[in-house]
């Protein structure tokens, strides 16, 4: 009798296993995820430019900048909206080039977004289906990478707010510039 009852306990055990897994997921800090890209060269990619279909944004653009900041964003992403003014501020920094990758977005909305909030980027690439930005290991939007002479130095997941800007992003940029 006891033996046959054991199988009815299996779901409970599996459940506990998954609950532990889920709670682990919750407790991790998504903004500090490590990236395979850190200390590695910029991944190879190319995608059409948002404003000019004949032009492209590719790894060559990014490696040609001394210090580059790549921001992955979308018009549907609410945090991107709040982050945008920080990017506008950063775009005034001398010696720093900002590049945007517009992720899984509708072109019209993306252009409206930029028209409304301003364009901090030197160039914007579009990736409608998210395939070309796969090499960046895109986890969610927004995501920001800092690149020095073609090598990825830092990755930030989630929006950059004033305190993240002051505490982490600016110190890194100060060292490089």
């Amino acid at each position: 009798m006891k033996k046959s009852n054991f199988k009815y306990l299996i779901p409970v055990l599996i459940t506990i296993l998954f609950l532990v897994f889920f709670s682990q997921l919750l407790s991790r800090d998504v903004t500090k995820l490590s990236s395979q890209l850190i200390e590695r060269p910029v991944p190879d990619f190319s995608m059409p430019s948002l404003f000019d279909e004949n032009n492209i944004l590719s790894s060559i653009d990014i490696t040609s900048s001394e210090v580059a900041l790549v921001n992955i964003w979308a018009s549907w992403c609410v945090p991107c909206r709040s982050e945008h003014e920080i990017l506008m501020l950063l775009s005034k920094t001398k010696g720093l080039d900002l590049y945007g990758i517009n992720y899984k977005d509708n072109k019209k909305n993306a252009i409206e977004f930029i028209k409304e909030l301003g364009n901090p980027f030197k160039k914007i690439g579009t990736d409608n289906n998210g395939r070309s930005s796969m090499v960046w290991g895109v986890y969610g939007v927004p995501e920001t990478f800092i690149i020095h002479k073609g090598t990825v130095i830092y990755k930030h997941i989630g929006p950059i707010h004033m305190n993240e800007l002051k505490e982490t992003v600016l110190p890194i940029l100060d060292k490089l510039l």
């Binding site: 009815y8 306990l9 682990q24 395979q36 404003f51 004949n54 899984k104 072109k107 939007v141």
Partner: protein
């Protein structure tokens, strides 16, 4: 003032449901479940209407209105704004929970003790979500500073389809809460038998219909608004809605067997628990901020922890009771290998295998990230390759199953009843392959089987009784199965025949893609309100006659300097065609890209067929009972 009333009403619901749920552990104090359920239902209904009223009035004293509305937004989107955010959608979620409890309270089930326990457990679920609403996501928070204008709604979300997509999906998700309550009530009162299954049947179907429609609508929206011809992206949030659908589909087939044959009791209970658990897991993944996508609301770790604790409580109670009662549930009837019940059970396992594949694909990247600090992406290829063999088996069982007799049947009977239709389908697909375009073996297999399923299901639906009138209860099932066959057929056909080609063209050139011939007629400069445009005209030709005209544009805006390409799209019953162009500098030709996307509208049609199938099954069922 309004917010004050709203909060009081929510608190009333909280207390009422707490009192109701006490019936799970005490038998001394009898509670009028109907009365208390009505109290919770109406208090939540009124507070929801109050929230909608705040949005209609653009009352910017409330944070939720400021962040999600704008005074100049069209009325319909102001209303939809009420549930286009985390707090409001949670209130709607609770409203649907109470609607189910309220309606169930008025159902004609005679077994009082069972009804009492079901409503008590449903109230426990309502209590949990109401607590969640009040403490982590209160929709009636006032703003600290005075604001005169709202921030507006995400422009992508200003869409009529999207206004109705969440409510429909929620009815599906939440409907399975009542199914779980049925399971708990049934176990406590030792009433898991064919009568129990008969009571559960319509509720399980209602939830399934709404979930089917909700997923279909989401996919429809993605196709028209976001994509370039994509309708399903295997996005974690899409998967989160697919998982309860798969479990729920397996569930109501089991309910069917239980109702007819009084077997598989514990398995049905297990599926009931699983289905609502997947609804909750979906909610957890979407609202905790673990996943980031078009669906996520601004995230807050407290919310994630709360849902997780709630999920844990629900699961521990459910599986705890299951571990205790499970061994006693099953009857001793045996299952014969060749019978309708075993083919349904086989399909059950296949559906759960698909569920497992999707579950793994959704969580695996999170797992590697957590334990190995490695980010990986799981793309469509994983799903397509893994699901291919399972889908083939599923189709075969769906063809055989409905033509197999209950209890015991002979293999020869089954083969005899379907072989003509199978040969017919095979001939059609082979003919197509020879005359139109060559197909691969997997494509031939999938297309033939799904076409056979469509034919067989149509034939089953048209079966007549001795009076030569159609057997109505079988009609719903057949419609739903035709829908599923058509779904696989159109998905495979779309994947196989979608074409995309890029041309460098000059005026008067002829462009050929598959059997479509386009003539490049002209290019002209045009002027819009705030832009200059280059408009090209392409005619889709059939011999010398013009069938359709496409006019893709390139627009040049001056402030700020922006260039956009406007796609010209024509949607037809069988095929959607997209034409896009751009003009390279200093060149005398234009680049034209043409997409041909066949069978898209059949995907939507098949989803609608499945839902209508479910609906007619319920309607004819009620007629039969009367």
């Amino acid at each position: 003032m309004i917010g004050y009333i709203g909060n009081i009403l929510i608190t009333i619901c909280l207390l009422a449901s707490l009192i109701q749920s006490s019936r799970l552990i005490q038998d001394r104090l009898v509670i009028d479940q109907k009365l208390f359920t009505s109290i919770s239902f109406f208090s939540i209904l009124i507070s929801f209407l109050l929230l909608v009223y705040l949005f209609i009035n653009s009352n910017f004293n409330y944070e939720i209105v400021v962040s999600n509305s704008h005074s100049e937004k069209p009325l319909i989107y102001k209303i939809a704004g009420a549930w286009g955010n985390h707090e409001g959608s949670l209130l709607l979620w609770i409203l649907v929970l109470t609607i189910f409890n309220f309606t169930f309270g008025f159902s004609k089930i005679k077994f009082v003790n069972f009804k009492d326990k079901v409503m008590a457990f449903q109230s426990l679920i309502i209590f949990g979500f109401t607590l969640f609403l009040l403490f982590t996501s209160n929709p009636f928070l006032k703003t600290e500073i005075t604001v005169s204008e709202g921030l507006g709604l995400n422009p992508v979300l200003q869409d009529l389809l999207l206004a109705i997509h969440p409510p429909i999906l929620y009815v599906g998700y939440v409907g399975y809460s009542l199914v779980l309550s049925f399971a708990i009530g049934g176990m406590i009162t030792n009433k898991v038998d064919n009568e129990w299954a008969a009571w559960l049947h319509p509720w399980a179907l209602v939830a399934w219909i709404f979930l089917t429609l909700g997923i279909g609508l989401g996919s429809f929206w993605a196709y028209y608004e976001l994509g370039w011809g994509g309708y399903w992206f295997w996005d974690p949030v899409e998967n989160a809605s697919l998982m309860p659908w798969l479990a729920g589909t397996a569930l109501f087939h089991c309910v069917l067997i239980l109702e007819k044959k009084n077997i598989l009791q514990s398995w049905t209970i297990l599926l009931s628990i699983l289905t609502f658990s997947f609804s909750l897991i979906g909610t957890f993944l979407v609202r905790s901020g673990i996943l980031n996508s078009v669906h996520t609301f601004a995230s807050d770790p407290a919310r994630g922890s709360f849902i997780l604790i709630f999920l844990a409580i629900i699961l521990v109670i459910s599986f705890g009771i299951y571990a205790q009662k499970g061994p006693l549930l099953d009857s001793k009837d045996e299952l014969k290998l060749v019978s309708k019940e075993s083919s349904i059970l086989g399909n059950n396992w296949l559906l759960l295998s698909i569920l497992f594949v999707v579950f793994l694909g959704t969580l695996y990247p999170l797992g590697t990230d957590l334990f190995l600090q490695k980010s990986i992406s799981v793309g469509p290829n994983y799903y397509i390759l893994t699901l291919l063999p399972i889908t083939i088996l599923l189709l075969i069982l769906m063809i055989i199953g409905p033509n197999t007799k209950w209890k015991n049947d002979k293999v020869s009977n089954i083969i005899f009843s379907i072989n003509k239709l199978f040969i017919l389908s095979l001939a059609i697909i082979f003919g197509f392959s020879i005359y139109f375009s060559e197909l691969e073996l997997t494509q031939i297999t999938l297309l033939t089987l799904s076409l056979t399923l469509v034919f067989v299901s149509i034939k089953n639906g048209l079966r007549v009784n001795n009076n030569y009138s159609i057997i109505k209860p079988a009609l719903g099932k057949s419609l739903a199965h035709v829908g599923f066959g058509l779904l696989i057929l159109s998905v495979v056909a779309n994947g196989t025949f979608a074409r995309e080609k890029i041309f460098q063209a000059k005026v008067n050139d002829t462009l050929q893609i598959d059997n479509y011939t386009f003539k490049f007629d002209s290019v002209e400069q045009t002027k819009g309100v705030n832009f200059n445009a280059i408009t090209a005209t392409f005619h889709l030709m059939n011999d010398q006659t013009v069938m359709d005209t496409f006019t893709p544009e390139i627009r040049v805006y001056s402030n700020p300097p922006t260039v956009t390409s406007e796609t010209s799209i024509i949607r037809k019953l069988l095929t959607d065609i997209y034409v896009v162009m751009n003009v390279p500098e200093n060149s005398n030709f234009v680049n034209v890209r043409i997409h041909v996307k066949p069978m898209i509208s059949f995907i939507w049609l098949s989803v609608i067929l499945m839902a209508i199938g479910g609906l007619s099954a319920i309607i004819f069922r009620f007629k039969k009972i009367r």
